[in-house]
């Protein structure tokens, strides 16, 4: 039967053993894309959804109308946070490999997303992240130790042992709780933004979703509600080319960009180089200004590449060429910002090495401290009796008796 099938099956350009091939990626030269005023009608800027906003050129210089006004100190700060994100991830990955946490997900290659966008938002703006936005928590002030304790499910775990590693939350930093179910945060962000508008506040919301997850219903609900109520929200699609083993073509990315998904609802879309911190910062600020000014939602597609495995449970060598990342035409976000600063005379290889060393030490120190609060195998341990708390605002009788029963049986 299969041989006469006329069904179209998307195929990635390269599988294990093949030459990496990114010819399908439409690239625009740095500086070549117009920057329209923030109150431009969606229909008059549809181009932005298939072009690629880039600021950093191949010679590491910032180009064109999207070049944001960030001074060297600001860029150094950005570099620091991106590097911290990576160093943190590397360490946690190792730690998982040593069997000391149960699971981990890294943001390798995508650090510019969380840091660039985090920098362009105000502290009062609310973030609804996916599991690859740990950089947002870090940038917004959640300590390394707190992040690590979450992953350890130890006595200082913000989640009290209830959540998988990486499912952080922080009310004080205005970053929402991460869900295991893909995409569910997207309509939350829209509802949050609607509430801000209803209350007459000028805070905006932002949310992140992966390319693969755009196929979920919540993506559609979020876009529809955002368009209908012109909610002040930034909806980001992090297109890192892969879901788990399926490439972005299985989410409908073969024919149009993800940035174009909202056009049919009148939501402007901007496709941006997701490894170019300056471009990311600029488009995010543009979208934030538009939202704050009453212009409604913007959909931003960040074109990047998932440099590592999907999670510690994954083995990407099974489904894509091992060296695909090295052929990715948009490079590495940290390396590019570093080179930009060096080219501009505000940074050096030596400073970078020192920073990296410092950050490694910082992460190591945090890890040592985190372990004081317990690990999977060594105490102190969280009290399991707490597992009956927070199911409801007040613990009802049946949960109290289950708690008692649990304590009796376990003792």
């Amino acid at each position: 039967m299969a041989n006469k099938s006329r069904l179209h099956i998307p195929r990635p350009t390269a599988r294990p053993g093949d030459e990496p091939d990114f010819s399908y990626l439409h690239l625009s030269p740095a500086g070549s894309v117009d920057r329209p005023p923030v109150d431009t009608r969606t229909r008059d800027m549809e181009d932005l959804s298939h072009q690629l906003v880039r600021v950093l050129d191949d010679d590491h210089r910032a180009q064109g109308p999207w070049n944001p006004d960030i001074d060297a100190a600001g860029l150094q700060v950005a570099l620091r946070w991106m590097l911290l994100n990576r160093v943190f991830d590397d360490r946690m990955w190792q730690i998982q490999r040593q069997g000391r946490i149960s699971f981990y997900m890294q943001a390798a290659g995508e650090e510019a997303v969380s840091i660039g966008q985090g920098m362009a938002l105000r502290p009062g703006d609310m973030c609804f992240p996916s599991y690859r936005n740990q950089g947002l928590y870090l940038y917004r002030g959640v300590s390394l130790v707190d992040m690590m304790c979450q992953c350890l499910s130890n006595t200082r775990d913000m989640c009290k042992g209830r959540q998988l590693p990486v499912m952080y939350h922080s009310r004080s930093a205005n970053v929402f709780s991460i869900s295991g179910n893909l995409g569910t945060q997207y309509p939350h962000a829209v509802g949050w933004a609607m509430a801000a508008a209803i209350k007459g506040e000028d805070h905006i919301a932002a949310s992140w979703i992966g390319d693969g997850s755009t196929a979920e219903a919540d993506f559609h609900h979020a876009l529809t509600f955002a368009a209908v109520y012109q909610a002040p929200v930034i909806l980001n699609v992090v297109n890192n080319q892969w879901a788990i083993s399926t490439f972005q073509g299985f989410a409908g990315g073969e024919r149009r960009s993800f940035a174009a998904r909202g056009l049919g609802l009148g939501i402007p879309g901007i496709r941006v180089d997701g490894n170019d911190l300056l471009a990311i910062y600029a488009v995010t600020q543009w979208a934030a200004d538009r939202a704050r000014g009453g212009g409604g939602p913007t959909l931003i597609e960040l074109v990047t590449y998932r440099a590592g495995a999907h999670s510690t449970s994954d083995d990407p060598s099974k489904y894509r060429p091992k060296d695909e990342y090295s052929a990715f035409p948009l490079g590495d976000p940290i390396e590019r910002l570093k080179q930009h600063l060096i080219t501009a005379g505000h940074w050096s290889g030596k400073k970078h090495s020192m920073l990296e060393k410092d950050l490694k030490a910082e992460v190591l120190a945090a890890w040592k401290e985190a372990q004081q609060h317990g690990t999977m195998t060594e105490g102190p341990f969280l009290d399991p009796a707490t597992m009956f708390d927070d199911v409801f605002a007040e613990t009802p009788a049946h949960l109290e008796s289950q708690r008692q029963r649990m304590l009796e049986v376990e003792s």
Partner: protein
């Protein structure tokens, strides 16, 4: 005290709470300008404006998802799902998000959404306008489930639900919106006008969540039920002449166990009735809990009277609906056994 039907009582609850707390917003399909297909929100948009009484796109998942986000941002959203049968497209948002947000974030985030939705059959609505899915949600930890059987409770429980910091699904048995219904479709319609539970204060009051109500005391048999079937149970008890104690569960989850078990330990016989499909319905939970606590007092097995294990058929709703005959037969079975 005013005389209200259930629709008026629900509207009054919304009105009182919206008046009191400017963070309460109402959203749903056709609930704004139009006032809702069952008129529960009639007049509210005129009074509170389009920004607090919000017409929504036809996307139950979107309505619940957006309501969650609103709740996280300090509002107290009341979402109407036009029919309980249409809550399923929003199922993931209810189960994976609304019910678990407080738990997973250790209370840092929560969203006090109340979902109001008409349930149950008896209005010739066919299989997609007649369902009672309370058991499905009762299995989900972290969400309160309520189903009132009369206007007084409806208003008091709805105010409690909206004011609760926990998410609540508030099921409204639509067959009794306009009057109590004893299960006999051939009888002339009865209104709430002359019913004591149709007397409803105009002002704020609450009926606490988690408390069952002994609707009628009795000695020979306990009937545990809720929603429309409370009235059917009364009629069936009258018909059989059995001195039944009738308990209206009112809050499906978390359940007020002791009111139920005290009664059954006293009477020694128990009939459980609900309109939903029997298999794996809420009657199973009630049976398991009651037999556990009252085993040594039970003289006969607990009997369930419920909807059949089929979809709700349009033409046979009175054969499907556990009406007076079936309830009476159940009462007789329980009384004769042992």
């Amino acid at each position: 005290m005013a005389q209200m039907n259930m629709i008026e009582a629900i509207r009054s609850a919304l009105d009182v709470v919206m008046e009191k707390d400017s963070n309460v917003v109402v959203l749903g399909e056709d609930i704004g300008y139009f006032g809702g297909v069952f008129r529960c929100t009639e007049g509210l948009q005129q009074k509170y404006g389009e920004h607090r009484v919000i017409d929504a796109p036809i996307a139950e998942g979107g309505i619940i998802g957006a309501a969650i986000g609103m709740g996280v941002n300090g509002l107290r959203p009341v979402a109407e799902i036009q029919f309980a049968d249409y809550i399923y497209p929003g199922f993931d948002q209810v189960v994976s998000e609304l019910a678990r947000l407080r738990y997973r974030s250790c209370g840092e985030f929560f969203s006090p959404v109340t979902i109001r939705t008409p349930c149950g059959g008896g209005i010739r609505g066919g299989q997609t306008h007649s369902q009672s899915p309370e058991a499905i949600f009762a299995h989900v930890s972290g969400i309160r489930i309520v189903m009132p059987s009369n206007p007084y409770d409806a208003k008091g429980l709805l105010i409690s639900s909206i004011e609760s910091d926990d998410p609540v699904i508030f099921f409204e048995p639509k067959r009794i919106y306009h009057g109590p219904f004893d299960g006999d479709p051939d009888k002339p319609a009865v209104s709430w006008a002359s019913h004591p539970k149709g007397e409803v204060p105009e002002d704020w009051y609450t009926v606490p969540l988690g408390t069952a109500d002994v609707v009628r005391p009795g000695t020979e048999l306990t009937i545990v039920t809720y929603g429309t079937l409370v009235h059917v149970a009364e009629a069936a008890a009258d018909e059989t002449g059995v001195d039944a104690e009738i308990i209206d569960v009112r809050t499906i989850a978390p359940l007020d166990v002791s009111t139920l078990t005290e009664s059954v330990c006293k009477t020694g016989r128990c009939l459980i009735a609900h309109e939903a499909t029997q298999f794996c319905g809420y009657g199973g939970e009630l049976t398991a809990t009651i037999q556990k606590h009252c085993f040594y007092h039970l003289e006969v097995p607990i009997l369930r009277v419920a909807g059949w294990d089929t979809p709700y058929p349009h033409a046979f709703e009175w054969q499907y609906f556990p009406g007076k005959k079936r309830m009476a037969a159940g009462i007789r079975e329980v009384m004769e056994g042992g």
